[in-house]
């Protein structure tokens, strides 16, 4: 293969500053050998094609719902994940050294952790100052003398690396509590290997899948002794957390239930998962909740993310947490200068991989150095609080420098000064060309029973601008895939058996997940029914309006009231003095479509649906998630079109109906018929039944002229997709009796009430039940009653008009059935989704 020598051809003007190491080019401006294949291939593709592949990768990531939440930013929730298409390349030789250094570091951190919560020899022997550890918010005294079975206390760890001007790799920091990023690294890899398949294959890149197999093995290894096949759960703070996507993704990839604190409970000295079928014992918790928040009894009492009593179960050895509570004590940059001494003490070795030069201000000499050189250093607190960033001395004004000096002098033990290095640069795609960007690499390690394993690759992040050294996701860093280039072709690992969606959870579906799924079903149906009715109403309003005909006007008004009653957006068209509202209904209709703040509006319903969906993100296939994403997009589009006017939205509504139908279709076709699916379909059927009943009541309880009712029937048939069906069945004029028959009693019409009730009866019969002496469950009783009312109803009776001038039988029967269905929803909630009271702390 011809080697590519200079970047002129593909990156004219690629900047190479003196004193800054570039990963792709050597000092003479030549492309390094392990980069040449990639750069040549990119050159052959051409900037346009690379740009297109990049967009394709971003689209894949977005459609897979890969997001990152940024705190304090109104648009920060579910921000799409940013990926630069040029990976960071590392040669096999370089990686060999990095691996040796990182594995040594992981062993060392593990020994330190065991010592700090055990004999504390390091403090007694003056290898770690007491003030450095005891002043750190991550040193949890309640975790003293608590340990995991086996050799390894530190199950997972991550390190941020960057290359300095001296060409050496430096460790910038360690993540030892709940390191994030491994899931994003995997998603980046999947996207890259899809958009650049041949390039990826020919570059002989090390595969990542084995790392996740090690993670699974590592978690099994720490399970309490008597667990044969340990139950592992992933504990997340919830959908608002910055890396919630990753929690859901890992849970789904590894086949573990994703749970929040109140999905778990402590009982009889064990931790249990509150599942649909009762309590299931949990052996291992992979936590993504910070340790201080894990047990409101013994740790932060204001935490709502934890499990009261958890620490005591850990203490008894009945549950293992990865990483153990208290491991945050190692996330302390002040420890770094002491690592060489500790390595000598514990391992008899020198440190293979250096940490970036760090001065802990708790010592006089170091304090003086930091105070004197503050403008050249980075200031970091030893204990990082969320939202706190490093401070760069060179960015501070004189007054600010003086302030910082005073702050450090007042509490020197709480700060370090760190060298400010120019990290090495990596090419990034910027405005169609390649530019160098400072890049930081996060590497991941996991402990198996036989030692640590390093993920061959990692999550690289590059600065948004040249020269920017503050590279974090929270501040706009852009991720990159990381390719460790092997000399041999790499064979894909045999993919671990991946339990698709709900199958893996079996009966252990957490109650909260069932709750969310139920509401996804209800809101999806509510949205679909709502759009159908709104579309029919808008159509009636704009196509061939027959304003002069009283029948037209009457049927339109009734239809408008149906919109209000079906969506529950009261008072709406039921408002008193609503004459003008009924004559010019556009503004109100528009609000029912796009006003997110209004409960029941389409935008609001879709919002609720996606929120519930997001909370159980781990349960959806990527296809399903793509459709959910599409639904959200279309509602945003509708909102934009709404500014033009109501009429312009008709086509958008057609599309939305198609997408919502695609969602139900996908779910029908691809979801395993487990408890999750049952709850989804129960939600859907229940909502469809409720909508139907409320529309029919609003439309026909008050009799109108036959002509007006005919028009109404036409519109309603249109909404329920039943016009063709009706014509086929009856081939006659549109008359109310047959219409009601079709929508209420016809057992074969999938939109009829009888059909919904029959399906609900089937589903409810399959729900898990506590053994009881009762022959039928409360849910079954409610449905039996609804079914009975429907069966004994007689169309002639329903149509008869009473003395008071209304169809009293129709009105009453429908309202009874409505009440029964509403009671069914409440009963399901009470029996299956009840999370109990929120805990409170005694004071």
């Amino acid at each position: 293969m011809k080697t590519l020598s200079t970047p002129e051809a593909f990156a004219p003007g690629y900047r190479l500053d003196k004193g800054i190491h570039d990963e792709m080019l050597d000092e003479t401006g030549r492309v390094r050998p392990h980069w040449s294949h990639l750069m040549r291939a990119l050159q052959q593709l051409g900037p346009r094609e690379v740009g297109e592949r990049h967009q394709e990768a971003l689209r894949l990531l977005r459609e897979n719902g890969v997001t990152y939440n940024v705190y304090g930013d109104p648009d920060g929730i579910n921000r799409p994940w940013q990926l630069d298409p040029i990976p960071l390349l590392l040669s096999g030789d370089e990686w060999f050294d990095i691996e040796a250094g990182l594995l040594q570091r992981a062993e060392l951190l593990n020994l330190i952790l065991a010592d700090l919560y055990g004999p504390r020899q390091l403090i007694k022997k003056n290898l770690l100052p007491l003030e450095l550890i005891y002043n750190h918010g991550g040193f949890l005294r309640v975790c003293d003398q608590v340990s995991l079975p086996g050799q390894h206390q530190l199950v997972l760890c991550a390190a941020d690396l960057a290359r300095g001007p001296d060409k050496k790799m430096w460790v910038l920091g360690d993540r030892t509590q709940a390191p994030s990023g491994a899931g994003y690294a995997l998603e980046n890899r999947l996207a890259m290997s899809r958009v650049l398949p041949s390039l990826f294959r020919d570059t002989h890149v090390h595969r990542l899948a084995r790392f996740f197999q090690s993670l699974r093995a590592g978690l099994n290894a720490i399970a309490p002794g008597d667990a044969d096949t340990p139950r592992v759960v992933v504990l997340t703070p919830g959908p608002l957390n910055e890396t919630f996507f990753e929690h859901a993704y890992l849970a789904s990839y590894l086949g573990y239930p994703l749970v929040q604190g109140d999905d778990l409970t402590v009982r009889d000295g064990y931790v249990w998962l509150k599942s649909l079928v009762g309590l299931q014992r949990v052996d291992v918790i992979l936590r993504r909740v910070d340790d201080n928040y894990c047990d409101p009894l013994e740790l932060r009492e204001d935490s709502r993310l934890g499990v009261p009593g958890l620490l005591e179960v850990v203490r008894r050895g009945n549950v293992a947490i990865a990483n153990p509570l208290g491991s945050g004590v190692l996330e302390n940059p002040g420890i770094m200068p002491f690592l060489p001494g500790i390595a000598k003490y514990f391992l008899g070795q020198t440190l293979k991989l250096n940490s970036i030069a760090t001065w802990w201000c708790g010592q006089t000499r170091e304090l003086n150095y930091v105070l004197t050189n503050l403008e050249r250093l980075v200031i970091k607190p030893i204990y990082r609080k969320p939202g706190e960033h490093s401070v760069f001395g060179h960015q501070l004004s004189r007054a600010q420098l003086a302030e910082w000096r005073a702050r450090i002098k007042a509490r020197p033990a709480f700060y370090v000064g760190q060298e400010y290095e120019s990290f090495s640069t990596v090419p990034a795609l910027v405005a169609g060309g390649y530019e160098p960007r400072q890049t930081v690499l996060r590497c991941f390690m996991v402990a198996r029973a036989d030692g640590y394993t390093l993920m061959p690759g990692g999550l690289s992040r590059s600065a948004p601008q040249y020269g920017n050294m503050m590279i974090t996701n929270q501040t706009g860093g852009i991720s990159k895939d990381t390719w460790v280039v092997a000399t041999e072709p790499q064979h894909p690992a045999i993919p671990a058996k991946r339990s698709s969606s709900l199958a893996g959870h079996g009966n252990a579906l957490p109650s909260r997940a069932a709750d969310n799924i139920f509401w996804v079903g209800r809101n999806a149906e509510r949205a679909e029914g709502g759009v159908r009715l709104l579309r029919a109403t808008i159509k009636k309003l704009f196509s061939n309006p027959d304003r002069d005909s009283p029948d037209y006007q009457l049927s339109l008004e009734t239809l408008l009231r149906c919109v209000t009653s079906m969506t529950g957006t009261y008072p709406g068209f039921f408002a008193e003095d609503n004459e003008s509202l009924l004559l010019t209904p556009e503004a109100e209709l528009l609000a029912v479509v796009v006003d997110e703040s209004r409960a029941g509006s389409l935008a609001n319903t879709v919002n609720r649906m996606t929120q519930s969906g997001y909370a159980v993100r781990d349960l959806w296939s990527s296809d399903t998630w793509r459709v959910i994403d599409e639904i959200e997009e279309q509602v945003s589009e509708a909102r934009r079109l709404g500014k033009i006017g109501l009429w312009s939205m008709q086509e958008q509504m057609d599309q939305l109906i198609t997408t919502l139908s695609a969602f139900s279709g996908l779910v029908m076709e691809s979801m395993t018929r487990g408890n999750g699916w049952l709850f989804l379909d129960i939600g859907r059927r229940l909502e469809r039944g409720l909508q139907l009943v409320s529309v029919l009541r609003t439309a026909f309880a008050m009799p109108q002229s036959e002509a007006a009712e005919t028009r109404l029937i036409e519109s309603l048939l249109d909404t329920s997709d039943n016009l063709i069906c009706y014509r086929q069945h009856y081939r006659s004029n549109l008359e109310l009796a047959s219409f009601l028959e079709l929508l209420l009693m016809d057992p074969n019409n999938p939109r009829s009430l009888a059909y919904q009730i029959a399906r609900l009866q089937e589903h409810v019969g399959k729900l898990p039940r506590e053994p009881s002496t009762r022959r039928i469950s409360a849910e079954e009783r409610l449905l039996l009653e609804a079914s009975y009312l429907l069966n004994i109803a007689n169309i002639d009776d329903l149509l008869s008009v009473s003395e008071s001038g209304i169809r009293e039988a129709l009105d009453q029967q429908l309202s009874k059935i409505y009440a029964l269905l509403a009671a069914l929803s409440d009963t399901l909630t009470a029996n299956y989704f009840r999370h109990g009271d929120a805990p409170q702390s005694l004071s």
Binding site: I123, K124, N126, L130, E131, Y134, N135, R141, V142, D144, T265, V266, R267, D268, G269, P296, L297, E298, E301, P308, G309, E312, R315, R316, R411, A413, G836, D837, A838, P839, Q840, S841, L842, S843
Partner: protein
Amino acid sequence: MRYRVTHTTTYRYQQTVGLSYNEVRMQPRPCPNQQLLSSQLKITPLPCDYRTRTDFFGNQVAWFSIREPHREFVVTASSEIQIFPQPVQLDLSHGMSWELVKEALWNDRSEPLLEARQFALDSPFIAADAALAAYAQASFTPGKALIEAIHDLMQRIHRDFTFDPEFTNLATPLTTVLQHRRGVCQDFAHLAIGCIRSQGLAARYVSGYIETLPPPGKKKLVGADASHAWFSVYLPDLGWMDFDPTNNQLPGDRHIIVAWGRDYSDVTPLKGVIFGGQNHELKVAVEVENLGA
């Protein structure tokens, strides 16, 4: 002197509590001047899970969980303790100067000093700041014996501050106490500890009980006693020595130690997380009976 201490805490809830997790630190810990003769903890309703352990500071902790639905929760700790009064006659003018003690504290690596050093650091309720240092300064004049400086500080706090149970609660910050010069025993202990730490010295928080004497000619009222708090300072030549700023005295044989830590947060007598209950009413009754020598 022998004592029997009965400490009863009663919670009455507005609504039923279906589940609770609790931690209790009410059993007197072992320490040089006192011996625990007997101790029992009575909990109603009966816990379904109960364990005891020793915490980071060597205090006795009972952990339990209650699953029986209840509207009233009662914990009664009864202990019999033998107190051996400190035999030392304090000679305030002798002993190491506070500067020398400070020097030793930060440089000597012997185990007792290392153990003491953790109590020189800030803790959840006590951050040594400039205001505390300024108040402390008058007591810590150059070359003064540590014991004399502490004694002086205790006397000043007793003189300058008003005992006022209405003014503070658990959440009142130390700066407010210092500013308004009011508080209860717990505040005075925190205040003294903050002052001492502001000078680079170590002090710890002690929780316990004190025998109260009825006014002359009156009978003592049952349950009229209360939990008490004071502080302790490490003197390299004498070990830990207690000071009670609320009563302006060196605890002798009328103070019963339950637990110690960096501040109140380490020795909270009763902690809990409950499910249900809504609002609650809390009643605490302490009785210290003197059983004679």
